[in-house]
């Protein structure tokens, strides 16, 4: 019975549950061979344990953010795993007494600009590699994949001197211009996969009708690749929001910081009750991404697996 319900419930979200339609037919598979007690031990118990470990830090983060100060450090008189007197004090303090809104705005502005820039560049690059197929397109594709494998940790020192030379140090542009180096290889690779699935015949028709390459790209390829664009956009946005080492190195003044850097550097003072506001900061900083994720789960998963598969 539960299996049936699950199958019905799952159907629309086919990417999460099984991307190939062949699998959907077999959704029950061989699981009817196993009886409930066995499934309880081998399946549900380990799954629940893993889920608890994966989610507990967030529960703890959220709980700490709404606990009154006196309950935070007193684990004996109050039950530490629950509170009956939630307070919004920490969040209020965060939003009205610190520069948190400004940091949120910085993060959002930088993430959006860097993502838009990277996607524009990646669309052109991916189209050129997949469809224009100029000589050495193969090589360029390979080089872009290699660029994906160069981590920020070995680039931030020379980049900091480069950023300084270009006069970008301690401005948003330092980040807006350097993040694309992380995002372009990823999204180009992802979009190449999407563009390959668009039938070549459509373009040939357009070419015969006298469309230019630019018209083909904007009027035929892009509208058909919208799911891919959304995937790339969301994933890039998340990567930007997540980025830490460049933001830590290239930004020095409080007003220009992004949320992750600001939380680590600005909240860590001697205050014994800082945990409440720290956790509130972490919670509020994560929420936009979690909400975005909740709306676009399928795109997200396809971006993640697409990047690995291609």
């Amino acid at each position: 019975m539960t299996d049936l319900l699950a199958a019905k419930h799952v159907d629309p979200k086919s990417i999460l549950t099984g991307s190939s339609p062949a699998v959907a037919d077999h959704s029950e598979g061989m699981s009817y061979l196993e009886r409930l007690p066995k499934r309880l031990i081998t399946l549900y118990l380990p799954l629940v344990l893993i889920l608890i470990v994966l989610l507990f830090p967030f529960y703890w983060m959220a709980l700490t953010a709404i606990k009154p100060d006196e309950q935070l450090l007193d684990l004996e008189t109050f039950n530490p795993f629950w509170t009956w007197t939630p307070t919004l004090k920490h969040i209020q303090k965060l939003l009205f007494e610190t520069k948190y809104p400004l940091w949120l705005w910085n993060t959002m502005f930088i993430a959006t600009s860097a993502t838009v820039l990277s996607i524009a560049a990646s669309v052109l690059a991916a189209y050129a590699i997949v469809r224009l197929r100029f000589k050495s397109a193969q090589w360029v594709g390979g080089a872009i994949f290699l660029a994906y494998l160069i981590p920020p940790s070995i680039l931030f020192i020379p980049l900091s001197t480069v950023v300084f030379q270009y006069g970008l140090f301690d401005t948003s542009f330092a980040l807006i211009l350097t993040y694309p180096t992380i995002l372009i290889p990823f999204s180009t690779w992802l979009l190449m996969g999407y563009f390959k699935t668009i039938p070549f015949e459509l373009e040939e028709c357009a070419l015969i009708d006298g469309a230019s390459r630019w018209q083909i790209l904007t009027k035929i390829v892009l509208p058909l690749a919208v799911p891919g664009l959304i995937s790339a956009f969301i994933f890039c946005f998340t990567l930007c929001w997540n980025e830490f080492i460049y933001a830590l190195t290239f930004i020095s003044s409080t007003g220009h910081k992004t949320v992750p850097v600001a939380i680590v550097n600005e909240f860590v003072d001697g205050d014994i009750y800082r945990w409440g506001s720290l956790m509130a900061g972490a919670l509020v900083g994560s929420l936009p991404l979690v909400v975005l994720y909740a709306f676009f789960v399928e795109h997200y998963v396809s971006a993640m697996t697409g990047a690995v598969k291609e």
Binding site: G29, L47, P57, W60, I154, V162, R213, I245, M279, G281
Partner: protein, 319 residues
């Protein structure tokens, strides 16, 4: 230019004239490079150039705000005798080795569990990925609080269960600190591996399992001879990425321990940040960063061969 002229001459035989500009507009080579220009410009200015500059800096005595002079391999010789550097290399290898192995084992196990027929399958799968979505720094801060020396809920729970008598000093002792950060890294990495392997699992046809079951294969045999071989290519790629990003990890360590206590948990990335940006010795920091490159190359080669085999298995042309 000569080519274009010839082309133009040939075109003239037909009824209408094609200008050089017309030909250029449809020339694939020319258009291709224009389309590539933005991406290539970004990657050269902010990726390739800094990469080369980093290697160059490692042979100089550059400091913050002062260009250095070439000093040969002095930075490397200095690092060779530096015990903190060797501790960081040891930590990086330990961190990468243990975390990747456990992440792979738990990730594969979780993927197999999620591949079963479950109620609320989609929701569970979506929830599993949340640790990967939330910015690392922010979840690291939650771990920082969980690992607090006085008010850790983990210590408190274990004390209530009478398993320990005093608080565990999670981040204050070198070895507990190492295991704590490794745990946090595993926690953060498992969802990514589980969901990508799950995507791989779903391409395995269920009829293979049914056929094997009819032939009397045990659960282990089904995993060993069906699941594992079919999953190998995607495992190769996922693990290369995982190793690569674990090896160069910076955020978790920086938030949780900043390389402390007494430099015991420095990874190569955090040590290079400390030496180059906080200490101002750009040359030395670059030398540490450059020392990571051979390891990364090894990981990339593994990835390359993993990808090659995948194409071969699918019978796909190398296109």
């Amino acid at each position: 230019m000569a080519e274009l002229a010839i082309g133009r001459g040939r075109e003239k035989k037909t009824a209408y004239t094609v200008t050089a500009w017309d030909r250029l507009k449809t020339n694939r080579e020319w258009l291709g490079w224009w389309f590539m220009l933005p991406a290539v410009a970004f990657l050269i200015l902010f990726l390739a150039y800094p990469l080369i500059l980093g290697v160059w800096l490692s042979f100089t005595d550059a400091r913050l705000g002062r260009p250095g002079e070439f000093i040969g391999t002095e930075n490397y010789e200095w690092l060779w005798d530096d015990s903190i550097f060797w501790t960081s290399v040891f930590n990086t290898l330990l961190y990468t080795g243990v975390a990747s192995a456990v992440k792979f084992a738990v990730g594969l196990y979780l993927a197999l569990l999620l591949n079963e027929n479950l109620p609320f399958k989609a929701i569970i799968r979506a929830v599993v990925l949340i640790p990967f979505i939330v910015p690392t720094v922010l979840s690291a801060i939650a771990f920082w609080w969980l690992f607090d020396s006085q008010f850790s809920i983990i210590s408190w729970s274990l004390k209530k269960l009478h398993l320990i008598s005093t608080n565990i000093d999670f981040l204050g002792d070198p070895w507990t600190a190492r295991w704590s950060v490794i745990f946090a890294n595993i926690w953060r990495g498992v969802p990514f591996i589980a969901i990508t392997l799950l995507a791989g699992l779903q391409t395995v046809s269920p009829s293979l399992y049914e056929a094997a079951t009819i032939d009397g294969a045990s659960a282990w045999q089904r995993f060993r001879f069906i699941t594992y071989p079919l999953l190998t290519p995607i495992i190769a790629v996922v693990m290369t990425f995982s190793v690569l990003f674990t090896f160069t990890d910076f955020q978790l360590i920086w938030v949780l321990t900043k390389g402390g206590p007494v430099n015991a948990t420095h990874l190569m990335a955090t040590l290079s940040y400390q030496r180059a940006i906080l200490g101002g010795h750009l040359g030395e920091g670059s030398a540490i960063a450059t020392a990571m490159i051979p390891f990364l190359l090894a990981a990339i080669l593994i990835s390359w061969f993993g990808l090659q085999r995948r194409k071969w298995q699918q019978g796909e042309a190398n296109d």
